[in-house]
Each structure stands twice: as C-alpha cells, then as structure tokens.
Symmetry: C2
Subunit: 214 residues, 2 copies
DNA sequence: GGCCCCGTCAACCGATCGGCTGATGCGCGA
DNA sequence: TCGCGCATCAGCCGATCGGTTGACGGGGCC
C-alpha cells in the first residue's frame, strides 16, 4: 500500500510447547506486519539454541514448557550471554512466584495470554527497544510486592514443603533430608506461618495453588 | 484459485478465555480456508448463548475458562438441546478426570493443544460430521480406562476431599458437611484407598495433581 | 566485634489422626 | 426379595502431629 516502512520489522523468536498455540501465535503475529517471526521453539533447550543462532531481538517465552527446562531457566540462559535478546514472557499465570522468578531470571516483560492481541503487538515492539512491559494484573502484583514483600520460603523450607507434598510424615521427611525430626517440625512451623495455614494439608493446598513447587 | 468448493466451509464457534490464544486460533483457522469461524466466546455463558444463537456446526471448547462455568458445564448445556452443535474439546490437559468429565458432558472429541495444527483442522471437519476424534494420548487413556477402571470418588468423597484441601481438620469437615467426625474418618479411609495414599497431605497432593477438585 | 538470618536440634504436651471392627438405613437393579 | 453400593455412625487404640520454648553454630553485613 504505502512505501517501505521507516523501521524494519522486529525479529522475533516464539517459544511455546503447544503446537496449536504456537501456530496460532505465528498466524496472529504475521498479521501485525511489522513483526517478523524468525524462528519457533517447542522446548526450553531449543529456545536457548535458536536464540543464540538466530539472534532475534525479542524472544516470546511461555513459562510452562512440559519436558526439560522450564521457561524461567530458559530465560536465564538466554539472557546470560552479552548482547542477548530481550525475553518477553507470555503465559497464563500471574502468580507471585512465577512473576518474581521470571523477572529474577532476566525477563524484560511479563504479559498474560488473557491480554488483547494489540497489547501483545505493542509489547513486542516495546521489548525490542528494551522497555519493560507488564500486564496490568502483573504490574499490580509487582507493586504490591514492593509495598508488602510476600513472605518468601527459604530454599530449605521449599525442600521440606516438596516432601510434605508427597504426603510424607515428619520422620520420613527427616530421613529424606538427613536431618532430625525436630528440625522438620521447626521448619514446618515457619512454613505454616508464612503460608498462613496451620495444617500440613493446608500447606500443600496453598503450595499447589501458588505454584511454589518445582 | 479454483471453482467454488464442493462442500461449504464448516461453521465454527471458538471458546477460550485467553484473548491472545483465541485470536491466534482465529488467525490459524482462517488459513485453513474450509473453516468459517462464525463467532468467538471468552467464557462459558457466552459460549452457550452464542451456540444457541449462531447455530454453528462445531464448537471448539477449552475446558479451563477462568470465571463462571467451566468448559465441562458449558459443554453439557450446549449439547443438552436437540439438534445441538458438536463440541470439540481443545485443551492442554490429558487428565483422566478431565477426559471422562468432558465425554460425560457430551463432547464429540477431545484434542490437545500440543497437537499439530493440521490435526486440529482435520478434527474440526470430523467433528462436523459427528465423528469422534481423540488425541493419541487421550485415546490411550480412554482405552486404559476401559480395561482397568480408575477407582472413582463418589460425590460425597469429593466433597470431603474439597474440605480437606482447605486444610480443615476432621472436626471442622464434619461441622461443614453436617455429619459426624466418625463419618469423616470413614470417608477419608476410603479416599486414601482409592488415591493410593495414607496421609491427608498426600491425598491433597494427588487431588491437585489429577485435578479432581472443582 | 556485634547483629541477624538461617539451619540445626531437644524435650515436652495435648490434640489429632489413621486403622480397625462392626453396625444401621437407604435406594437401586437383578 | 435379595444383594450391593453408598452414606451414616460408634468406640477404641497407638502413632503421629502441632505448638512451644529454648538453645547452638555458621555466614553475611555493618
């Protein structure tokens, strides 16, 4: 229709483990015109490899990737190298744990799949310029996080919680982690405090809900 | 390119709560040519309403729909009326509970988002002719189900389990459901048997894992 | 050096859970 | 009508859990 665009299209790499969703994203992004999908990955390892080889400006990354490394780990590896592309997370969950982990791993933006497609287009361009983009619900959570830091579980507490979620008793947890039963109970008490529960079943429920495991 | 097609395109209604995914599906399905998306819904109620009003041949339905009724309930309502469209479930999970519930609600097919896009196209056409389509993993589970029926929780047991997942104690569960503590313990024992666990935390973990709640 | 967080452990106690046996009533289908 | 599955309840017991208090050592930070 018009003359050649003033700016070349954004070079984009798409990573999502669901083929249908991936194909949908490609078809959708193609309609944007000023975005060029230069590659697609179906798992974390492939994304890391292609990010290095194709040198896109932006990587659109899902956090849940089935087998292999997850999106957070992939993001960490991609952004580790100098001159790395910006990673724009596109996922369904706006959990505190996911958000903080993704940002901690070096993500430039965090968008929800519930967002309008136009927002996605805008976010890709913003990410290409290194700008941070957050979906409104995500932004809210980040702000809330700053005001009142969510009590975060320590590494050890997460390990205890993981065992707990297997349905193990205190004695079994103690044996599994090579500590005494007393220590397990101490940790559990602190976990109850942080999660705002007072039973092990409740702790497992909250953990699964907030996606604190794995 | 060629002459008019021998068969008119399949009239399709798409239901998914994530706008980006929905837009992606629309863009993807548009490329199929012989599929005409006549409407899109972002929640269950809207899907039921549009299914009745637009009279599509096939409804492409996600099971997880955020607020309001879920995909199973929407499927049940859509297929309840005579001359109803066929419902083709398109979701990410291949859990036994989800599959059986969806089929029980009247779904014609059950496809995974991990499937290749061509399979999706083929499945839509198959569904339009009333044929049953199942993703390979789903088909396997259905067959396994037939051979060795998974111990299914009774309605009451699910209620008990739901309370358990809130972290409630036996006494509280008893009060919440207006039964005696002894009854709660009896139910719990049977739940442990069916789920293959022997602790309440383990039961909650399995329940969340197999998506037996809500 | 002092402080604080983290992880470790001990001992105690009451409350709760898990497992068991056995029993009743109800509805449904053979 | 008989049998079966489901839901309900009782009582008992040992094992376990949850809460508490107190304590010790290491590592990071000022």
């Amino acid at each position: 229709m018009s003359t050649a665009p003033a700016t070349p299209p954004v070079r984009l790499l798409v990573c999502d483990d669901h083929a249908v969703v991936r194909a949908g994203l490609l078809a959708l992004l193609a309609s944007a015109g000023d975005i060029a999908v230069v590659g697609e990955a179906s798992d974390g390892e492939e994304a890391v490899e292609l990010a290095a080889r194709l040198a896109p400006q932006v990587v659109l990354m899902d956090l849940q990737l089935g087998e292999g490394i997850d999106g957070v780990e992939a993001t960490r590896r991609i952004t580790a190298v100098p001159g790395a592309p910006h990673v724009l997370v596109l996922t369904t969950y706006d959990t505190d744990a996911d958000i903080t982990r993704a940002i901690g791993a070096g993500a430039t933006g965090y968008l929800l799949k519930a967002e309008r497609p136009e927002e996605l287009f805008a976010a890709v361009h913003a990410a290409a310029r290194g700008r941070t983009v957050l979906s409104p619900p995500v932004a809210s959570r980040v702000m809330a996080q700053m005001r009142a830091p969510v009590p975060q579980l320590t590494e050890r507490e997460q390990e205890i919680l993981a065992q707990l979620a297997q349905g193990l008793g205190n004695r079994e947890i103690a044996r599994a982690l090579f500590i005494s039963e007393a220590t397990v109970k101490t940790h559990l008490g602190r976990i109850y405090d942080k999660l705002g529960v007072d039973t092990r079943a409740g702790a497992v429920a909250v953990a699964k809900e907030r996606r604190l495991l794995r």
